[in-house]
Amino acid sequence: MEKREYKVIAETGIHARPATLLVQTASKFNSDVSLSYQDKSVNLKSIMGVMSLGVGQNAEVTISADGDDEKEAMDAISDTMKQEGLID
């Protein structure tokens, strides 16, 4: 299992376009991918789940991937987050 922690720097948090792209990226992989914020954890392939967390600026989130392509999934998700300006 791969697990990484991030601090969200984007002013508007994880919203609309980045959220959609993040879900689309996660959905390309077989691994189970989850996003945890505060005491809640959701499926990162579920846009409704991601939105329901209401991740704002400065939120500390954990993303974990579990499965045969967990490493690739994690890297791709990190890249998307960087490209969308969610993290440094």
Binding site: T12, A16, M48, G49
Partner: protein
């Protein structure tokens, strides 16, 4: 045959079958079922069909509006593919043995409520409405009814709607949408302004159109009188075809004035400028021979985006407009958000009276980082043409001074870093009566003033311009309003400053003779009104109009009286 009377909102005649942009009945009954697998197949089929439809709409939107605007549909497709949501719906069907419609409604309602409850967050409320939107589409497939999609129109139509939202009008193919009829709205409502920008004949405030007009029935829209004729007979169709031809001929006559400078009968040259919302409106501006842009409403840059527009994005938009206008003046108004214009990503507190609340320059001065980004983009674009900056909703001199100070700080910084900055004029919008009354003091400090009549009238009369019950108070010719306007123009001229107007009134055929008589320097209006106004001014003598203004301002008591005095004095006005 039936005639419906509404408010003439956009000139021209349209004759085409009706396209009802009205939501169908999506109500259903809860049923207990015996075969869950059948219901699961139904919901899966409905989800797939909805996704396919959204793909088509997305492609259409990409073609008509650009990739950025089409992204909302991408988000909708992602919602319909949500594995957790689909799992919940399936479980609901299996465990509770309810029909697909009920399971869909239960699951999506719980998300909508969850998003709505995420307090004080305008952005999440928008997401709730996204979920509601896609749910409707899936429900329509389950129920076998058709949801109207303006993006899928493939023949000439007249749109029949209760009201039109910006996202509706954004999807219109202007080659196919020939006319618009809306139940709600007045001359200054969103649907009216958009239809004039798109040059589509329109009647608004028809009240009953969506009840009276069935799909595919022939409709005549007379945007000159406000008449809508439903299911006309052959005689009426040929009568209106003639009227349409006559209107187009008159328009062609005006076209001859396109490259001519605006000139009054006694040789005065006021500037006739256009109001725009985005660089996309520039085609209409150039086609109608505008001598400037008198109002560039930059808030569309903010409203059409999912996040604050970057300095570079803004720079590109401003540069495009000033470059296209060459040496002609372009007045760019800084962000006018608040009031009825909200941003999903910039939550503002709910207010009792948003039009009297936290909006425009009040937000800009408070959140000055957003303001500074916009000013930098404007400063950078200024060297590419003749750019003026206008601050909206200025009430006090100190507000203007604070805005000017921030402007000068950013200007200084850019010049020090080697950026070329043009010769910018700095002005204010006069829409708050307090600023109009204090015009003598403002005139000493600003380069120009632009009178925004829609808001000036609304604030002077204390009458919400969107509220039909008090629409009789929208009185542009009321002597009280005319006195305020004259005062602003007089004090501008006393200090050698420029007096402009950028409200609907600047293109109003009754108001134009009076404004010419007051010596207004720049008239800014919907691009489509420019040539008609140029044609009217050609026959007017500004000195005679100045005499008329004196008479009107000193003697008239009511809006109606002024109107009659102008019609009597100016036979050229075609009422």
């Amino acid at each position: 045959m039936k005639t419906i009377k509404g408010i003439a909102a956009s000139d021209g005649i349209a004759i085409a079958p009706a396209f009802r942009l009205v939501e169908p009945n999506l109500s259903f009954e809860q049923r207990t079922i015996d075969d869950p697998s059948q219901e699961i197949d139904r919901i899966n089929a409905a989800l797939e069909a909805s996704k396919k439809e959204l793909e088509i709409i997305k492609q259409k939107a990409e073609k008509n509006l650009g990739t950025e605007e089409a992204q909302v549909f991408e988000a909708h497709i992602t919602i319909l593919s949500d594995p957790e949501m689909i799992k919940q719906i399936t479980t609901e069907i299996q465990d509770k043995l309810v029909n697909a419609e009920q399971a869909l409604a239960d699951v999506t309602d719980s998300y909508i409520q969850l998003f709505q409850a995420m307090d004080d967050n305008e952005y999440m409320k928008q997401r709730a409405s996204d979920v509601a939107d896609v749910t409707k589409r899936v429900m329509s497939h389950l129920l076998g009814v058709e949801l109207p999609d303006p993006a899928l129109i493939d023949h000439e139509v007249v749109i029949i709607a209760h009201d039109l939202t910006p996202s509706d009008t954004a999807q219109f193919d202007t080659n196919l949408v020939k006319g618009i009829v809306a139940d709600l709205g007045g001359r200054t409502s969103h649907s009216a302004i958009m239809s004039r920008t798109l040059e589509i004949p329109a009647v608004v405030g028809s009240e009953t159109a969506t009840n009276d007009i069935k799909e595919d029935i022939m409709v005549i829209v007379d945007g000159l009188t406000g008449d809508v004729i439903v299911d006309p007979n052959d005689d009426q169709i040929s009568e209106y075809r003639q009227k349409q031809t006559k209107y187009l001929e008159e328009k062609a006559e005006w076209q001859k004035l396109k490259t001519k400078q605006t000139t009054s009968a006694d040789g005065k040259h006021p500037i006739l400028a256009a109001n725009i919302g985005t660089p996309k409106d520039m085609d209409g501006v150039l086609e109608n021979g505008a001598e400037g842009i008198g109002l560039y409403r930059t808030e569309f840059l903010y409203m059409d985006s999912n996040e604050l527009p970057s300095e570079d994005d803004q720079f590109k938009a401003y540069k495009e407009v000033v470059e296209k206008m060459g040496d002609k003046p372009v007045v760019i108004r800084t962000m006018d958000i608040g009031g009825d214009k909200k941003l999903p990503y910039l939550p503002l507190p709910e207010e009792m009276n948003p039009f009297l609340g936290y909006r425009a320059i009040r937000i800009s001065l408070d959140k000055d980082d957003i303001f500074r980004t916009q000013l930098r983009a404007l400063l950078r674009a200024s060297s590419f043409g003749n750019l003026w900056i206008m601050f909206p909703m200025i009430a006090t001199l100190n507000e203007f001074r604070s805005a000017k100070k921030i402007y000068e700080e950013e200007r200084e910084k850019l010049i020090n870093s080697g950026v070329k900055v043009g010769d910018i004029k700095l002005g204010i919008m006069i829409e708050i009566p307090a600023a109009a009354v204090l015009a003598d003091k403002f005139a000493k400090e600003v380069d120009f003033m632009s009178i925004g009549t829609n808001d000036l009238i609304q604030y002077s009369m204390a009458a919400d311009r969107g509220n039909e019950c008090v629409s009789y108070l929208y009185q542009p010719y009321n002597p009280s309003i005319l006195r305020l306007i004259k005062r602003v123009i007089d004090y501008c001229h006393l200090e050698g400053k420029i007096a402009c107007m950028c409200g609907e009134m600047a293109g109003d055929q009754i108001a134009v003779p009076l404004l010419l008589g007051m010596g207004l320097d720049e008239f800014s209006m919907s691009a489509t009104s420019i040539l008609r106004t140029r044609s009217l001014i050609k026959d007017l003598d500004s000195k005679k109009m100045a005499e008329l203004v004196n008479k009107v301002v000193n003697e008239a008591e009511t809006n109606e009286q002024v109107r009659q005095m102008v019609i009597d004095a100016v036979p050229e006005i075609k009422d």
